[in-house]
C-alpha cells in the first residue's frame, strides 16, 4: 500500500489537453497507474488517448469515482485547479505546476487546511509508489519496490538519490516530491508522520535544501516521535546568501535557511546526514544496517 497512492488509485489529470498533461498522462498510464479521466474546461466530451475528458472536476469525480488528481494547469489557473479538486472531494491532489503566485497559494493553502484533501506541491515532480502507481513526472525506470520512504523538495536530485538507493538494493515504498516553493501542501513533517505509520516503510530518506525552516521543523518532530531510521542530504552548502537558487523557496534570507544549520539540526535529532550528494544511498544503507 505505502502512502498516498497505490495501484487502486483512480487518477484524474487536470490540464490533460496541454502538451505536458497529455505526455505525462500517457507515461503514468504506461507505468501502471489507473488514469481514469482528464479535465480541461471547454473540452468536455472528447477522449484523448482513450481517456475521457470532462469540463469540471465535479462531473469527472462523480462519473469516474476518481480519488487522486494530477495537476498540469499553467500558473494563472493552477491554484484554482487545486481548489476545484478539493471542492470535488479529491483525496490527494498533486500539483506539478511551477510558477504559482504567492497570493494564490496563500488562499489555496487556507482552503486546503480546512478540507480533507491532501495537497502535494506545487512545483513538484509528484508521487510514485514503485511497482504500483506513478502520479508525476519522475522516470519510472530508476525506481525499485522496497521499504525506503523518500521525501524531497527537489526533482532531479531525488532521482539521483533514488538511483543510488536502487543500485544498493534499497527499494522504495513511496517517493514524495513535496516541491520547491515557499508555500506547499504537505511539508516534510506531514510526510514523515505518514511514513512513520506506514507498515511498508522501514526507513526514510529526506532531501532538503536552503531556505525556510521545514527541515528544522521536521528535525524536532523526528527527535520526539520517529520510530524508524532517517538519513538525509541537504543541498546548497555552497549557495551564496540572498540569491534564489532556481526554486522559489531556495533562498537564504537574513542569515536564516542555511544548509549548514539544517544539517546541524537534523544531525542533532539523530538523522544520518550525508555531506556529499554522491553518498546519499550509502548514508541510508548505514542506518538501515543497525
Amino acid at each position: 500500500m505505502s502512502i498516498l497512492i497505490n495501484k487502486n488509485s483512480r487518477v484524474i489529470v487536470q490540464g490533460i489537453t496541454g502538451k505536458a498533461g497529455m505526455f505525462h498522462a500517457k507515461q503514468c498510464r504506461e507505468y501502471g497507474t489507473q488514469v481514469v479521466a482528464g479535465v480541461t474546461p471547454g473540452k468536455g466530451g472528447i477522449h484523448v488517448e482513450g481517456i475521457p475528458v470532462f469540463d469540471t472536476m465535479e462531473e469527472a469525480v462523480r462519473i469516474t469515482k476518481a480519488d487522486v488528481s494530477m495537476i498540469f494547469v499553467p500558473p494563472p489557473g493552477a491554484a484554482d485547479a487545486i481548489l476545484e479538486a478539493a471542492n470535488a472531494g479529491i483525496d490527494v491532489a498533486v500539483c506539478i505546476t511551477e510558477g504559482v503566485p504567492i497570493r494564490d497559494m496563500v488562499m489555496a493553502k487556507r482552503v486546503i487546511n480546512d478540507s480533507k484533501t491532501l495537497l502535494i506541491g506545487p512545483n513538484c515532480p509528484g508521487v510514485i509508489t514503485p511497482g504500483e502507481a506513478k502520479v508525476g513526472i519522475m522516470p519510472g525506470y530508476i525506481h525499485k519496490k522496497g521499504k525506503i520512504g523518500v521525501v524531497s523538495r527537489s526533482g532531479t536530485l531525488t532521482y539521483e538519490a533514488v538511483k543510488q538507493l536502487t543500485d544498493l538494493g534499497l527499494g522504495q515504498s513511496t517517493c514524495v516530491g513535496i516541491g520547491g516553493d515557499p508555500i506547499i501542501g504537505m511539508k516534510f513533517i506531514d510526510v514523515l508522520k505518514m511514513f512513520n505509520d506506514d507498515p511498508k516503510t522501514e526507513g526514510v530518506f529526506m532531501i532538503g535544501e536552503i531556505g525556510g525552516g521545514a527541515e528544522e521543523e521536521a528535525a524536532a518532530w523526528i527527535k520526539a516521535n520517529m520510530k524508524k531510521p532517517v538519513a538525509a542530504f541537504i543541498a546548497g552548502v555552497t549557495a551564496p546568501p540572498g540569491k534564489r537558487m532556481g526554486h522559489a523557496g531556495a533562498i537564504i534570507t537574513g542569515g536564516k535557511g542555511r544548509a549548514e544549520d539544517k544539517i546541524a539540526t537534523l544531525t542533532e535529532a539523530g538523522v544520518n546526514v550525508s555531506l556529499s550528494p554522491t553518498r546519499m544511498g550509502e548514508a541510508m544503507a548505514e542506518v538501515m544496517k543497525k
Binding site: 505536458a20 505526455f23 500558473p75 494563472p76 510558477g99 504559482v100 503566485p101 504567492i102 497570493r103 497559494m105 496563500v106 488562499m107 493553502k109 487556507r110 513526472i137 519522475m138 522516470p139 525506470y141 530508476i142 524531497s152 523538495r153 527537489s154 526533482g155 532531479t156 536530485l157 531525488t158 532521482y159 539521483e160 538511483k163 520547491g180 515557499p182 508555500i183 532531501i207 535544501e209 536552503i210 525556510g212 525552516g213 521545514a214 521543523e217 542530504f233 543541498a235 546548497g236 552548502v237 555552497t238 549557495a239 551564496p240 540569491k243 534564489r244 537558487m245 532556481g246 526554486h247 522559489a248 523557496g249 531556495a250 537574513g254 542569515g255 555531506l275 556529499s276 550528494p277 554522491t278
Partner: protein, 388 residues
C-alpha cells in the same frame, strides 16, 4: 523582483501612504534643478538594488543646490559597496532627491510571507531605522507579529492593535491604522513578496511619513502585471543573468572557473556542492529546466562560455524527459561555434544516452563522458589541473 526606493514610494503614494516629496534624477544637473524646486536643502539618495547605502555614503544631505550637484556628480557612475551588495558593489545610475525630513520618532513596519504558517504576516516595532534582524534576535519582545488570515484579510481592529502597540494615540493612531490597511491592500493588489517601511517616522510637525520604502514583487505574479517589466533597472543586474532570463534559464554567476549546466534546481545546487567537495570552484549555478530543447541547451552553454572566468565545463543531466542525444547536439552546436577547447565533462542519464555519448565523443571537442556524479566532478577538476 526588485525595484528602487523612488519607485516603491510612487506606489506608496498611489495607495495613500504618505512619503516625503521627491524627484528621481539621472544627471547632476537634474539633481540641482530638483534641489532648487525643493527649496534648496535636500537629501540626495543613491538608488541601488540594495540597502545599507547610508554608511557607504550613498545618502547625503545637501544644504544648497550647488552642493547637491557636487554630491550627485561624485555618486553617478560610482560603484557603491554596502554590506548587501557584495565586494563589486552596484553602479549608481539614478538618484532620488528628497525634501529633508526631521523625524522625532522612528518605527519599523513590514508585510512579508511567513513560510511557517503559509500566510502573510505583518511585523511592527518601535525600534525603527535599525536592522530588524538584530532586534528580532536581541529584543524579540519589541516586535509585534500579526499573521493575517487570507479569508478575513487585515481587519481594522487588528491594525489598531498594532498602532497601539507602537504607542500611537488619538488622530495619529487613526492615521497609522489607515496606513497599515493601505499597506496590506498594496501588498495584495501588487502581488508583493515583501513591503517594508524602515523607518516609518513621525515628523517633528506630527505627521506620519514613510522615510524609506522597499518593495519586492513576487516573480511568479509578474505575468499579471506586465508594467513591471518596464520598471526593471538593468544596470543593477549582472548582464549574464539578464541574458539568461531572456531564455527562461535560471542562472546565477559565482566566482569560480568551472561552468555548470544541470537540469533541476536541487540537483544544480548539489552539483555545485560536489564540485567544491572535489576541490573545484563553480563559476555559476544554471538550471536548464526539465523540458529544455536543443536551442535552450545551446543557449545555456553559450551563456556559460560568455563568462571569461570559465576554464572548464561540467554538464550534469539526469533522467528526465530530455533526450541525451538532443542535449549532446545542443552542447556541440554552442561549443563548436565558439571553437571551444575548454575541457568539458558530461554526465548524462536518461533516454538515448549511448547515442548522446557517441555524438560527443565524435565531435572533436575536448570532452569526456561519465555515468556518475562524483566521478564526473573529480574528472573535471582533474582535467582542469592537467591543463594548468
Amino acid at each position: 523582483m526588485n525595484i528602487h526606493e523612488y519607485q516603491a514610494k510612487e506606489i506608496f503614494s498611489a495607495f495613500d501612504i504618505p512619503v516625503p516629496r521627491g524627484r528621481m534624477a539621472l544627471t547632476a544637473d537634474q539633481v540641482e534643478r530638483a534641489a532648487k524646486m525643493m527649496g534648496g536643502r535636500c537629501v540626495v539618495k543613491a538608488q541601488i538594488y540594495a540597502g545599507g547605502r547610508g554608511k557607504a555614503g550613498g545618502v547625503q544631505v545637501a544644504h544648497h543646490p550647488e552642493q547637491a550637484h557636487e554630491i550627485a556628480k561624485e555618486l553617478f557612475g560610482k560603484r557603491l559597496v554596502t554590506p548587501q551588495t557584495g565586494p563589486e558593489g552596484l553602479k549608481v545610475r539614478r538618484v532620488l532627491v528628497e525634501e529633508p525630513v526631521d523625524p522625532s520618532r522612528e518605527y519599523y513596519l513590514s508585510i512579508t510571507l511567513d513560510r511557517n504558517t503559509s500566510r502573510y504576516c505583518l511585523l511592527a516595532s518601535a525600534e525603527g531605522g535599525v536592522d530588524i534582524e538584530e532586534v528580532a534576535t536581541k529584543t524579540p519582545e519589541k516586535i509585534f507579529t500579526l499573521t493575517i488570515d487570507p479569508f478575513t484579510g487585515l481587519r481594522p481592529f487588528q491594525a489598531r492593535k498594532v498602532a497601539l502597540f507602537l504607542g500611537f494615540r488619538g488622530s495619529l493612531c487613526e492615521d497609522c491604522v489607515e496606513l497599515i490597511l493601505n499597506l496590506y491592500r498594496l501588498c495584495l493588489e501588487k502581488d508583493c513578496s515583501l513591503v517594508e517601511i524602515n523607518p516609518l517616522v513621525v515628523t517633528k510637525a506630527g505627521w506620519l511619513l514613510a522615510l524609506d520604502a522597499k518593495i519586492n514583487f513576487d516573480d511568479n505574479a509578474i505575468f499579471r502585471h506586465w508594467e513591471y517589466h518596464d520598471m526593471l533597472d538593468y544596470s543593477q543586474m549582472d548582464p549574464l543573468e539578464i541574458n539568461a532570463g531572456k531564455f527562461d534559464l535560471s542562472y546565477i554567476k559565482l566566482d569560480g572557473n568551472i561552468g555548470c549546466m544541470v537540469n533541476g534546481a536541487g540537483l544544480a545546487m548539489a552539483t555545485l556542492d560536489v564540485l567544491k567537495e572535489k576541490g573545484g570552484e563553480p563559476a555559476n549555478f544554471l538550471d536548464v529546466g526539465g523540458g529544455a530543447t536543443r536551442e535552450k541547451v545551446a543557449e545555456a552553454f553559450r551563456i556559460i562560455l560568455q563568462d571569461r572566468g570559465v576554464e572548464a565545463v561540467f554538464v550534469n543531466i539526469f533522467g528526465g524527459i530530455m533526450r541525451c542525444d538532443v542535449i549532446a547536439q545542443g552542447i556541440i552546436e554552442a561549443a563548436s561555434e565558439k571553437g571551444c577547447t575548454l575541457p568539458i565533462v558530461v554526465r548524462m542519464d536518461g533516454s538515448q544516452v549511448e547515442e548522446g555519448k557517441q555524438l560527443l565523443l565524435e565531435s572533436g571537442l575536448n570532452v569526456q563522458c561519465t555515468d556518475f556524479l562524483g566521478e564526473g566532478a573529480e574528472c573535471v577538476v582533474r582535467m582542469l589541473a592537467q591543463e594548468k
